[in-house]
Symmetry: C2
Subunit: 408 residues, 2 copies
């Protein structure tokens, strides 16, 4: 007898057959005596086609109105699942974001959850109803509809699990869990049984699409046990939980790769105070996220300054960089979109020295040149030439013996 939150992604509710499949899973959990709250995404592809529709009107649709439009996607699946459960003689009620009191800030299109009231969720549960909540949406304190950004339903689920003090938050998706690396690149990739919030955060921020990064932040903050698993099989997936002793035995738990960044270098930047602000303020003002920044001494009173941006923003960032270079009397600007960032992640590396040098040596053994390096307490990332990306992932996966990972 537990209180269980289950979140199903777009592929899991892509049509009425799959919604019936979800209903069967929900019923199974309910029939075991558990209370169940279900959070749903829109049907696969719907959010994209709604955005496409809006863009036929204008390239920059009013964000408030775009959220009103997008919110229909989750409203539809929530109603359909509640209907399906009722048709199967199970009591179920849908709730939209505002009805579940998912209160957010006013950042349309990328709102952050501030508070969840959940009064009606609790009322319905008290009557042994299955509660179906439209994910991805909330409302601001003025009652405007907001959406939480890509993957926002994950965050809806974890935040609601935290608000109602659920025993577990199950994230149902189209993969079996979190893997040591991308199985499409490395056939030796293994499913990870348990992973810490910190490692999952690093993986999410490195572009692993399994969970929205904010949902992991919420899970960590409110200590919500998250179970990432497939809606198409009965197999256990990956538990995302607090760091525990067993995890530390493993130095590195995963290898990730991101090819969607590009590199920009300003050559011979005069070594003066305030020059970094002059470079990065206009880029930040343009809404471009800079990831890595590295500064090297050039010669004399000059530095070379390199940074990475998302490939999608590369052209705009190059244009800005050229303008800035002229203003600050830098010699030249160089750009490179053919790069990849490979990273090794693991809470265990906090207690193990030499992880970086093992990583560098493994790449060197394959004759892969390292262009940039950045580190966090539990992560080391190297930027390399894009053509070596897969080779690097396999080499690192083997070096840290992730293919020998056994279920704990």
């Amino acid at each position: 007898m537990a209180l269980i939150v289950q979140k199903y992604g777009g592929t899991s509710v892509a049509d009425l057959d799959r919604i019936r499949n979800v209903a069967n899973r929900v019923i199974k959990t309910y029939d075991q005596g558990n209370d169940v709250v279900v959070i749903l995404s829109a049907m696969a592809g719907i959010t994209d086609s709604l955005i496409d529709l809006a863009q036929q009107i204008t390239h920059y649709p009013e964000k408030r109105e775009l959220d009103v439009l997008l919110a229909t996607g989750e409203q539809t699946t929530a109603a359909l699942l509640a209907m399906t459960l009722n048709a199967m003689n199970y009591p179920a009620q849908s709730l939209l974001g505002h009805q579940a009191e998912v209160v957010t800030d006013c950042t349309f299109g990328n709102a952050r959850i501030m508070d969840i009231g959940a009064t009606r969720i609790k009322e319905f549960l008290a009557n042994r109803s299955i509660v179906v909540v439209a994910g991805f949406q909330g409302c601001d304190t003025n009652g405007n509809i907001t959406t939480l950004g890509r993957g926002g339903s994950d965050t809806s689920a974890v935040a609601i699990a935290a608000a109602i003090k659920a025993d577990i938050c199950e994230i149902y998706t189209d993969v079996n869990g979190v893997y040591t690396t991308d199985p499409n690149i490395c056939s030796d990739a293994k499913k990870i049984d348990r992973i810490s919030y910190e490692e999952m955060l690093e993986m999410a921020s490195l572009g692993a699409k399994v969970l929205q990064i904010r949902s992991v932040e919420f899970a960590k903050k409110y200590n919500v046990a998250v179970h990432v698993r497939s809606s198409f099989s009965e197999e256990e997936g990956t538990m995302v939980v607090n760091e525990d002793k067993s995890m530390e035995r493993l130095v590195v738990s995963s290898v990730t790769v991101n090819k969607k960044e590009a590199r920009i270098t300003l050559i011979k930047v005069p070594d003066q105070p305030g020059v970094a602000a002059k470079i990065f303020s206009p880029i930040s003002d343009a809404g471009i996220n800079v990831d890595m920044i590295i500064q090297n001494r050039h010669s004399g009173k000059f530095n070379d300054l390199t940074f990475t941006v998302p490939t999608a923003d590369f052209e705009q960032a190059m244009e800005l960089a050229r303008k800035i270079a002229a203003e600050i009397n830098a010699e030249d600007v160089m750009g490179d979109t053919n790069i990849a960032k490979v990273s090794v992640i693991g809470v265990g590396m906090k207690n193990h020295s030499g992880v970086a040098s093992r990583m560098f040596a493994a790449l060197a053994a394959e004759n892969i040149n390292i262009l940039m390096i950045s580190t966090s307490e539990i992560r080391i990332s190297c930027v390399i030439s894009e053509k070596y990306a897969e080779l690097a992932v396999r080499a690192l996966h083997a070096e840290f013996k992730l293919d020998q990972l056994v279920a704990s």
Copy 2:
């Protein structure tokens, strides 16, 4: 400088081009210095396809959830129009039913508006914003989404017009206004310039689809001037207003026909107190609307009792009638689906005698037999054989000289 409510139906917002057409009309009104509140239906066909989707799950979808599903239709068009107006550099905000505080009772699928707060409508208007409200939807006092039934957006529009004390409520549709009869049946049909609420109520209850009957009740109760007109032309339409002197000059203002009723007769019903209740209670309990009821003396202590029901409910009503007939010892039950009800309507007939006899004579002149008759203060209806329906309409239209109607 007026406060104008404009309601656009499904065909007027059927695609992005037509939504742009609506935006242009709205802007024209706004640019003349008026405050504009727009009420929208769903795109033509959308409500039907959503119902179809729900019925793929079950023939009797949970009504609460069906309303959540259906409400997405108007949410979509409201967002798209607000987006279009913003893209054309006009300030516009959408509001859903609950955001506009359209409070209804809890009758899912056919809710009645109890109250309209309209706080945010007034706030937006005060900032010279165009307000786009999703029609057809509201919420009950528990915050559940409700819908107002077929044509409910008309009622949304008139009720909101009443709540904000609008100067006029314009109902944009795909016809030029209200006609003396169906132009598809009678090519001489003329557009009516002004019609009273009472006549419009009779027409709406007789199946004319121009306005939802409740919207006319609202308009009458709160004295809202309604202008029914086409969104595809600039032509003036029909004003629905309080009865005035000019209307009384016209004895009959329109002829209507309804082929969607069927007739059921119970033969030799014993003449006892309480027998009518025994007959009609079970039919009413089954949710079947009985329209006309006529009782004739049969012979001895027996009556024949005839009533009409919607064709869609005919089979079920026949079954009930047979059961009741057995219980009350009636001799037989007969049914007929090949009937039509033709009606003449006009506030003028209150002051003119002989309208009924002119109607009967006109039908007799065409050798049309009258099966049933019913009247109200401003209407006379005759049930005739369905095959004579068009002939009867044309004969009555000519008899009351509706083809000679001139614009007042």
